[in-house]
């Protein structure tokens, strides 16, 4: 594999990817120990079967409607728009999903799949805790055992979410190895799965990992983009001019982007965690300042040093604090279909406060990265143009972090 990053021609139809082995151009694939090949093949064939099964789809749809609370509104942020000046700003309100973030669209889908496959034990990993909370909720709902691995540092940063998971019956395991954050939790979850493949289903929370996870998680999250598309056509009679979403692993972003990839008139932007700045080493923006490599079962952009060792990351948002990104994003970057930008901690914090004050919506710190970029973008656009920002989660979980940054003790 050459390390020279070349521009790749965009395909005629993005919807036809990945290929049967999980490749998005040069990215994706299945880079795992042999022990995990059989369970991944089993999962891929089960997913292919249930994806085409109307009964499974109907069950999932009912759960999304009555348990998760879909469809979520497409909300015109009038006060924010007036303040920023320029394009009209709309929020797709995934913060109103049950448990407070888009994560549950995917956990609902995977937990139903696990049930159909007869797996009664669920393992998951979580960074900010949103995926862990969403997993704990659906496991409680479906009567599945739930074990959540979480970096010890994130356990400290997100104590409220840890308690929420425990309230819903999950076992939260703090991971002390490595940098004690999301990537180490991922390693531990893989290890657990490897040791217990017979009765255990691993619910990955983002569009990374080995095939079929990037495809499966994307499909479960694509409900966001499909709804956005319909709602835009209903409310404006046309598609939006631009989409913005934050990108850590990238599941909320791919969910919003994917149904629009063929709409060439829609500009698409992904906002990564610039931390203290991409010119420093303290950030979590692999697409903006990393290069391709192999980690956690797939080839994608990574934050790594010259020796191929994975770098510690930094972001004020635990949910974006991951050195990799979903392989489909890597491909969308190289094809030029999506533009990825880095938003640093300070701008994200300012946007967090701004949206709270102007609209009475406290966004997750992850989401605040998208909010911050949308403000810059809107100011360059015309008032008749429309930007939709994926409001991927609510910020209740982050208020301790923000208060701490500002020297307050709640």
């Amino acid at each position: 594999m050459s390390n020279v990053i070349q521009a790749i021609e965009a395909p005629a139809d993005f919807g036809e990817f990945p290929d049967p082995l999980g490749h998005f151009g040069p990215y994706g694939g299945r880079f795992v120990p042999e022990l995990l090949m059989a369970p991944l093949e089993e999962l891929a064939s089960a997913y292919a079967r249930f994806r085409a099964d109307p009964e499974f789809q109907a069950e999932l749809y009912a759960d999304l409607q009555y348990y998760v609370g879909r469809p979520t509104p497409l909300y015109f942020a009038r006060h924010w728009t007036e303040q920023v000046g320029g394009a009209q700003l709309y929020l797709k309100r995934e913060d109103l999903d049950h448990t407070g973030a888009h994560k549950i669209n995917n956990t609902m889908g995977q937990a139903l799949l696990a049930s159909r496959m007869g797996k009664r034990r669920i393992v998951a990993e979580t960074g900010a805790g949103q995926h862990g909370v969403a997993t704990a909720a659906v496991c409680a709902r479906l009567g599945l055992e739930c074990i959540v691995y979480m970096g010890a540092e994130d356990v400290r940063r997100q104590s409220v979410n840890v308690y929420r998971m425990r309230l819903m019956g999950a076992t939260v395991v703090p991971v002390e190895s490595g940098t004690r954050t999301l990537k180490d939790a991922l390693n531990e979850a893989f290890r657990d799965w490897a040791a217990n493949v017979d009765d255990t289903f691993y619910i990955i929370g983002t569009v990374a990992g080995p095939h079929p996870y990037p495809e499966m998680v994307r499909d479960f999250q694509a409900v966001i983009g499909r709804e956005t598309r319909e709602q835009c056509l209903e409310q404006h009679g046309r598609l939006p001019d631009a989409l913005v979403a934050c990108v850590g692993g990238g599941s909320n972003a791919i969910g919003m982007f994917h149904p629009f990839l063929g709409d060439t008139g829609v500009e698409i932007y992904g906002a990564e965690a610039g931390g203290e700045g991409v010119e420093t080493e303290r950030h979590a923006a692999p697409l903006s300042a990393g290069r391709p490599g192999v980690l956690h079962g797939n080839r994608t952009y990574l934050m790594e040093n010259a020796d191929g060792q994975i770098m510690p990351t930094h972001s004020v948002s635990a949910g974006l604090d991951y050195p990799g990104v979903g392989p489909e994003h890597a491909w969308l970057k190289d094809t030029g279909r999506v533009r990825y930008v880095a938003v640093d901690d300070d701008d994200a914090l300012a946007a967090f406060h701004g949206l709270a004050r102007l609209e009475g919506i406290i966004p997750a710190l992850e989401t605040a990265h998208g909010i911050a970029y949308a403000e810059k973008l809107a100011a360059r656009m015309r008032p008749d143009q429309v930007i939709v920002i994926n409001c991927s989660g609510r910020g209740d979980k982050d208020i301790d972090t923000v208060a701490e940054v500002e020297g307050m003790n709640l």
């Binding site: 694939g29 880079f31 120990p33 022990l35 059989a38 040791a195 956690h296 020796d307 060792q309 994975i310």
Partner: protein, 274 residues
């Protein structure tokens, strides 16, 4: 004949089983590895696996992960490991050396450069834990061009179809992972291992090594009855971890465990079921 194949042929002629031992390159510090390798050989190891340290070794347990962390903290990267092999070769031209690790550090050097440098350093085989054959064509081609043996893993969950496909590409030896989980986990079921090894033997003439879960001379003795080679990593690395800061004690401790494993392997047949 490759050094690995020759070593297996030698042991087979002596009616002995092959002992493969693993250490992480650069653990606990760069200067320690070459003396440890020689000590392993003098205590009875037949093939040395040298781990290429990686920051995120997801198929390994806590013992090997800590060894990787120690090595990385002390500045050992892939180039450093190759330098260690080169130094080992100055006084040992017979003992096969297999590099074991994860794909990403190799990708950053590039497959061709890696294969060329590894062959020049005196490496005989390469095992990449997170590279399945489906993704491995380009890498295997590079290894083959430089006469390096690609070593492949087979797991208890591997379907027969895949066993055949893997065995078609395997050189040196095939590494059967004797239990589900990560390195250093669980306990051994020798009968179960034996039936899997028999299945692999139907697919290939390549020797079969068995690893994961071998802790003692007794474990080695029992596995030696069903496999051509026994692979031991965590038991050796944990001796290093227990003696960090005292290289002489490390040498003595790994000598003791390697000697125990060797004696177990060479012991007269014992009953297969306890």
């Amino acid at each position: 004949m490759s050094r690995i194949a020759y070593r297996f042929a030698q042991r087979r002629a002596e009616q002995r089983k092959t002992l493969v031992t693993y250490v992480t390159g650069g653990d606990p510090h760069p200067g320690a590895t070459v003396p440890i390798m020689h000590r392993l050989v003098s205590a009875g190891a037949d093939i040395i696996e040298v781990g290429m340290p990686f920051s995120d070794p997801m198929a390994d347990g806590p013992v090997i992960q800590s060894a990787c962390d120690r090595a990385l903290e002390n500045g050992t990267g892939l180039a450093g490991v190759l330098e260690m092999v080169r130094a080992f070769r100055r006084t040992d031209n017979d003992t096969p050396v297999v590099l074991m690790g994860y794909l990403n550090p190799i990708e950053q050097i590039g497959y061709q450069s890696f294969a060329r440098d590894a062959a020049a350093a005196g490496v005989d085989g390469v095992l990449t834990v997170d590279l399945p054959p489906e993704e491995g064509n380009e890498f295997v081609a590079a290894l083959t061009e430089h006469d390096l043996d690609p070593i492949w893993l087979i797991a208890p969950t591997t379907r027969m179809e895949r066993v055949n496909a893997i065995c078609d590409q395997a050189r040196g030896f095939v590494y059967y992972v004797s239990l589900k989980g990560v390195t250093g986990a669980g306990t051994l079921d020798v009968d179960d291992v034996g039936s899997h090894v028999d299945t692999i033997r139907e697919a290939t003439q390549t020797p079969v090594g068995v690893g994961f879960g071998v802790r003692s001379g007794d474990d080695a003795a029992r596995l030696g009855q069903v496999a051509d080679a026994v692979v031991v990593g965590t038991a050796i690395v944990s001796r290093i971890a227990e003696n960090v800061g005292d290289d002489a004690a490390i040498g003595d401790a790994i000598h003791a465990i390697t000697d125990e494993l060797r004696q177990g392997l060479d012991a007269p047949m014992v009953e297969r079921t306890p």
